[in-house]
Symmetry: C2
Subunit: 208 residues, 2 copies
């Protein structure tokens, strides 16, 4: 029996079918691919491409999209610093559950603060957290502005917008960096290839 946070009298239930058995069933290893970067840097595009490429290889992945989760699990949270931190903590905890379930969990959210991302990394066994940095210039993201958000931020209609009036802290030790080559963005399939090759090399696409 233990005391955890605000809870007392909490027991840990172990089950005879665990992570290894699920990984065997799926012939893959659970992990978290955490895609971070500015709004408009291509996180969702990459997430979808990786998802599709893995599916074509018979692998089960699932996308946790920061925006989508704000419709459900995180709908009580806004964008102030403490809410962003709690948003990311919850996504990290859920990603951990998906990895434990044996899935390749693709989390796609701006996650601008290093300490929040590192806290998610610390939740997982070593090497099970694969940080992918969409290293695209702010100018490019702002020029794309597919959602019209930069325009609103520049006009002062959105406050605390990452890259405009709120900082983005670049990863210091990410596993994968996606960037332009000679000023050209890689195609989605090429970006996805970079991630899937990494997963393959590290043995995530087989259970042993």
């Amino acid at each position: 029996m233990s005391t955890v946070g605000n809870s007392t009298n909490i027991f840990w239930q172990e089950c005879p079918v665990g992570r290894l058995e699920r990984q065997k069933l799926l012939n893959q290893k659970g992990c978290v691919v955490w895609i971070t970067g500015l709004s408009g840097s291509g996180k969702s595009t990459l997430a979808c491409s990786v998802n599709r490429e893995l599916y074509s290889r018979g692998k089960l992945s699932y996308i946790l999209d920061g925006d989508n989760l704000r419709h459900g699990l995180n709908k009580d949270l806004g964008f102030k610093a403490e809410d962003r931190t709690e948003n990311i903590r919850r996504v990290g905890e859920v990603a951990k559950l998906f990895a434990d379930a044996g899935l390749i969990c693709i989390a796609s959210l701006i996650s601008p603060y290093r300490k929040d991302r590192d806290a998610c990394r610390a939740m997982l066994p070593a090497s099970n957290f694969i940080e992918v940095f969409m290293n695209m210039p702010l100018e490019l993201c702002e020029a794309r502005d597919a959602k019209g958000l930069y325009k609103l931020a520049r006009a002062g209609k959105i406050k605390g917008f990452t890259g405009i009036d709120d900082p983005y802290e670049q990863p210091l030790n990410c596993e994968i960096e996606i960037k332009q080559n000679d000023g050209i963005c890689p195609a989605p399939s090429a970006m996805a290839g970079q991630v899937v090759s990494y997963l393959e090399d590290k043995g995530y696409l087989h259970d042993n």
Copy 2:
């Protein structure tokens, strides 16, 4: 663009590999098996048995255990009424994600209030929420008292304990009821069989 709860400027990202594709890969349909009942009524035992039985049939399931989640996602929550409600809401939201991922998600938590369970049911497409009521007499649960919690509650050392000084509201329309036969509890494998037969009959163990 929409406003959701405390969030603004939230877009919904759709991906070409969706629930149907994942269900095809797994040859099963995602759903939530929600096990409710008193402490000591056998929820975790049933969850593990169902998990094992599904695994033996090559099906992927995952258990969301109320106690376990209080070590992670819900460690900021206690046991007052509003915290219990938020606890159950979050488990419901995560269970919904697992069902969307194609898994048979087994949620095991006391979830004593009808309105909280019904709110989780309402999150999911019709028939994807399968409520399993562990209908065991309080006297039996208290006599088992595997965790020693009833003793503490009777001694006043735990406040707000379901069945002692906090109500348990029985389901009115559960899909499955597990109860004693002539005063005898069914064996775990028999209880699991009741759930797995239901899933089979309703077509969850195949993707079409």
